[in-house]
Symmetry: none
């Protein structure tokens, strides 16, 4: 996370290539050829791959200015991380380092969120995603959406978008008093979209369990520590939401919702388009009147 050196190891080598002895150069070229993988091996492995002896490698990295082989490897890993980092933060850090400007608070947070998002993406199984989308696409299945104290903004996001795409979508608000009535009509043909992250909210959990008991299929959005609801849910999406803050980030979950909406919308676009146009007409009428 700290500021990266301006020059890469590869550059350092290229600059001093003619100052190296023949065997050292041999090793250096092997490194550049498959950069930076050979340098991530042990000295012995690197040496063997280059066809030189152990100390030659050590002398090479010493000439490059490293005090120890471990330092050299650390530098390679830092470079690699910066290079593989999601496009999100790639440019930012370099630019800020160049300007010698202190990284603003939001940029640090941004970076943290981006890595949570990258990690989260790997936690989604494509089949699970498709399964959930299929459930949501089925207009014969009413969809009910519910979130916790904080996550209800996510629930609302899902609701506001989903209702543009299809009918039979219900949002359950925070007024727990009304929840019992919602449960009354639950049958196995219901789909529940639930949001529950740490610290898991008892009433939401109970609500989900009851819905599941009545046969409803549940799609759950939770964190890596898994809401108790994961036991009864048909589809569980456990994302990485811990970030560099006292608060969890909703971004990964939010993006997953959007991805589902995008997919849903793309899958039956003609139908969705027709619906939205109709909606538009009605809205205009209401506004005019």
């Amino acid at each position: 996370m700290t500021g990266l050196p301006h020059t890469t190891v590869a550059e350092m080598i290229r600059r001093r290539l003619d100052q190296l002895t023949p065997t050292e150069r041999k090793a250096a070229l092997i490194l550049l050829g498959n950069y930076p993988v050979p340098g991530l091996q042990t000295v012995a492995q690197f040496a063997k791959q280059a066809g030189v002896s152990n100390p030659t490698i050590l002398r090479l990295i010493a000439k490059l200015g490293f005090g120890a082989y471990a330092d050299f490897q650390q530098r390679l890993r830092d470079e690699l991380e910066a290079r593989l980092r999601s496009p999100l933060t790639k440019g930012v850090l370099a630019a800020d380092a160049k300007d010698l400007v202190e990284i603003p608070a939001f940029a640090k947070y941004w970076e943290s969120v981006s890595s949570a998002m990258a990690a989260s993406m790997h936690l989604i199984r494509p089949s699970e995603f498709d399964g959930a989308v299929a459930l949501l696409a089925d207009e014969t299945r009413p969809v009910t959406i519910l979130g916790g104290r904080l996550t209800s903004s996510l629930a609302l996001q899902a609701y506001l978008h989903l209702r543009e795409l299809r009918s039979n979508v219900t949002f359950i608000d925070s007024q727990t008093a009304t929840w019992a009535e919602h449960l009354l009509g639950v049958t196995p043909s219901n789909t529940y979209l639930l949001f529950d992250i740490r610290r898991y909210q008892e009433d939401v959990v109970r609500m989900g369990q009851e819905a599941a008991a009545r046969g409803a299929k549940i799609i759950l959005f939770t964190d890596e520590w898994l809401s108790p609801l994961s036991a009864v849910a048909e589809h569980v999406f456990a994302l990485r939401i811990a970030v560099n803050s006292n608060w969890d980030s909703f971004a990964p979950i939010s993006v997953l919702i959007e991805a589902m909406i995008a997919r849903l919308s793309a899958l039956n676009w003609p139908k969705v388009k027709a619906r939205m146009e109709e909606l538009e007409v009605i809205r205009r009428k209401l506004d005019a009147g």
Copy 2:
């Protein structure tokens, strides 16, 4: 070098993620988050980065089927080499996408959101960010939050979090009938937090203009095409929300909200902490009663 195994370590982890113990999962997620760099470190470094103990790492890689940590690292290096050989266009995504027969829908969307977020980050001026945070931090200024038809989920997110941090926060819901009354009490000591993206919603715009006319300071979250409200707003955050979908992504705006919350929360943590603890006590009392 012989043919590489078809499954990557990342894939293996994803498949068995639910069979891992909590701490093992923690380590696994760290690896996936900066894949594959953490795994190229020593066991001790990896463990420290993940905040787990040495043996946990070893148990993890044992569960993945590796006989020794060295084997595990060798596999990571092999993957990395194969991956870097082909033109590295899109970092992690591209490489992992190759593993799968075809890039899953959500991965494409993810990529698109990532670049929108990266672009958005550059559109934020640090001074503007600090200014807005300062406004929100000022408890003598009541904060009113309002969003449009779809963006009200963002408004709700801001509201739910902000009210944890400070008092005097109001959320205006979509019932336009009540809006006039909200305007009645507006003075120059009011702060309005508004969300308005294309296609800009007339009623929200009018509401903001009227509040501005009465002296309220306005913080506006909008898109790069700028809501008409930007003319009257004190602080304007114009982010890039267009993505590879029929719908705009809320993620950049959402992350900006979170960044502000995080900043606010960090700036006066003792006070915030005290408030949250008090809230917790009250909530428990209500639940019990």
